[in-house]
Symmetry: C2
Subunit: 417 residues, 2 copies
Amino acid sequence: MKQSQLFTKTRKDAPKDEVAKNAQLLIRAGYIHKEMAGVYALMPLGLRVMNKIATIIREEMDSIGGKELQMTALQDKKPWEVSGRWNDEIVDNWFKTALKNGTDIGLGFTHEEPLTNLMKEYIRSFRDLPVYIYQLQTKFRNEARAKSGVMRTREFLMKDLYSFTKDVASHEAFYEKAKQAYVNIFERVGLGDRTYITFASGGSFSKYSHEFQTVTDAGEDNIYVDEKKKIAVNEEVNNPEVLKELGIKKEDLVQKKAVEVGNIFSLGTRYSDAFDLKYIDSEGKALPVIMGSYGIGLQRLMGTIAEVMSDENGLVWPKNISPFQIHLIALLDKEGKEGKVGVAGEKLYKTLTEKGIEVLYDDRDVRPGEKFADSDLIGIPLRVVISEKTMAEGIVETKDRKTGEVRKIAEKELFVL
Amino acid sequence: MKQSQLFTKTRKDAPKDEVAKNAQLLIRAGYIHKEMAGVYALMPLGLRVMNKIATIIREEMDSIGGKELQMTALQDKKPWEVSGRWNDEIVDNWFKTALKNGTDIGLGFTHEEPLTNLMKEYIRSFRDLPVYIYQLQTKFRNEARAKSGVMRTREFLMKDLYSFTKDVASHEAFYEKAKQAYVNIFERVGLGDRTYITFASGGSFSKYSHEFQTVTDAGEDNIYVDEKKKIAVNEEVNNPEVLKELGIKKEDLVQKKAVEVGNIFSLGTRYSDAFDLKYIDSEGKALPVIMGSYGIGLQRLMGTIAEVMSDENGLVWPKNISPFQIHLIALLDKEGKEGKVGVAGEKLYKTLTEKGIEVLYDDRDVRPGEKFADSDLIGIPLRVVISEKTMAEGIVETKDRKTGEVRKIAEKELFVL
């Protein structure tokens, strides 16, 4: 994409009411736009990052047998009354509204109820199991406080997968596969090093659930990390009994601030009992389906990455989710776009693009200092400069956004990066 | 995808309260699930169709310079008060709700207001124009009546593009390009033959707007078609003055029922005036930006295709948006999946898939009659049968879903379809 055609502009300052670093940087660099507290639109750069994250998540969910569908935001209250979660005293973050005829409806903050209800039409016998269903779908949560930028928002894209299995053994086998898929996702988006599988309380069916917690001072959670074992426990389960069961010594634990970027949860028969979701086994017996749920909030993930991969000059995207791979910058000569550098820059942009490399091409007629500052702020992994000077030397100058390393290389070396 | 792993099942009957043919067929075939009146979830088959439609639309919008972003559903009321459209007496299909602190918010039914408001941050000079912005985003409309299946729903994906240009001439040039892009879209999804550019009233800025109307008895609109000229007028503008201006003779017009599958509209300065969205021209003068809006509802498009491309046995998808290109059906022998046919079917499925052909493989151990009925209902363009009989002959049997034509061909002919 040519930067002259990218309508967003970088900003010196974020809106005054924006206190979170992640949102400040993402707004200043033109990735998101704040509509109101806790509600952010995705600008073209932000949408590209989200699409990359979504693709990684889809690949991992497909690889463990997930089937994608898309439920609705508008929620009939009946299934929620069945589970008891329609009540605002039980669930405190509903957005509710009404049809013209006065019927109350809600905006889905999760989808256990409607999906369990729906699966009653499709699950009849053991032959229909297991089934793993996921979606990338917009959730609405009426958060009382929304001060963590895109890490806690009122409207966000969530990947939620729900597993339906016939017995505890097959549930547990899938749960372990899902856990590994989550490890893969956080590794692929660049958070592997600082993201810990964290034991949390599990509800009535299972002793533990698992959170994926990314260590950052911007986190709202406290976790207790065993660095050697590469696992953690959250505050709920940080007690002698649990530590003993997990083989963790209290003295090995270090308290850290963290963000919950994912969680996986064994639901057991909570929803299948409520909705009478049963299957007929090979001996003709009706048995309740065992369920699990597995969630990742995509904006939160993007925000967490912005928090932990940034420096005083701006964002520092990992290659896998950067909106572009190369930020090509032409330092135009006196003739502007029609000059020697402009023509060569345009040609290089075209060549790279034709080779399938994603390039943001700064073809604007503005000062070099402004181009470099914008490039640092936007945070694409590799900056490539073409100028009268580099052309005289027959090279281009690259700068690694993360390490700052500057290199002079032949243009054609870019093609095999 | 293997049909044994597609969790949806075909149904003999649609829900009793479902009166529209499009929704009846889409529900029975497992493309959608009715959550409540006017609210439908997309099952895996339906999501695949929607993704294909979305890809075609994105390609056409990108080709005319559209930049994709994603606005939010939750709407701050302030911009809507600026335009006067927050009032329920002016806009009768708002869904409204409130934040925990009591602040009223709405669910976006369109996005002129927030986008015009947002563009004030980015449009300053003539150098920032033109800019064409689009999104594929979920709209919410509190329809009093929702009886046309997926053709009029309370929650749906919409492609909305907004153009920002510096003068009327550049607006009109883009408007014509957008019109052609719309023609391309309806052609590519298979509705070209029966979709008419239809003159409609244009508001205060422009004499006409244009609807894209697809002729079908299921339509809620009446249009008046000049078959020779391949254009139409809607009821609003079907009067002597307009017909004269368009060079249409009254006696050439035929009244037809139709569905509005798209519309394009010159907004002029209605929103730029309201929001004081100006740019500085090359002489330093501040001028209002000229706007246009261009919409397509994706569920309505899918529903219209289901209405007009179906027969008594089910859906008949055009190739470009069918969820799969081939419905491969194995008529298993006595040994079931492990038998000769099952093994050969599995191998053919793998080969086709590896060649990038999208195949739904009916590997289920059910009666041939059930497989054929399901295949007709699901409506994939080409059915391919492999059985003991076809294997003995060294061929596969294909059936064109649309024409019914049956052919015996060598397996390898499938690879070059």
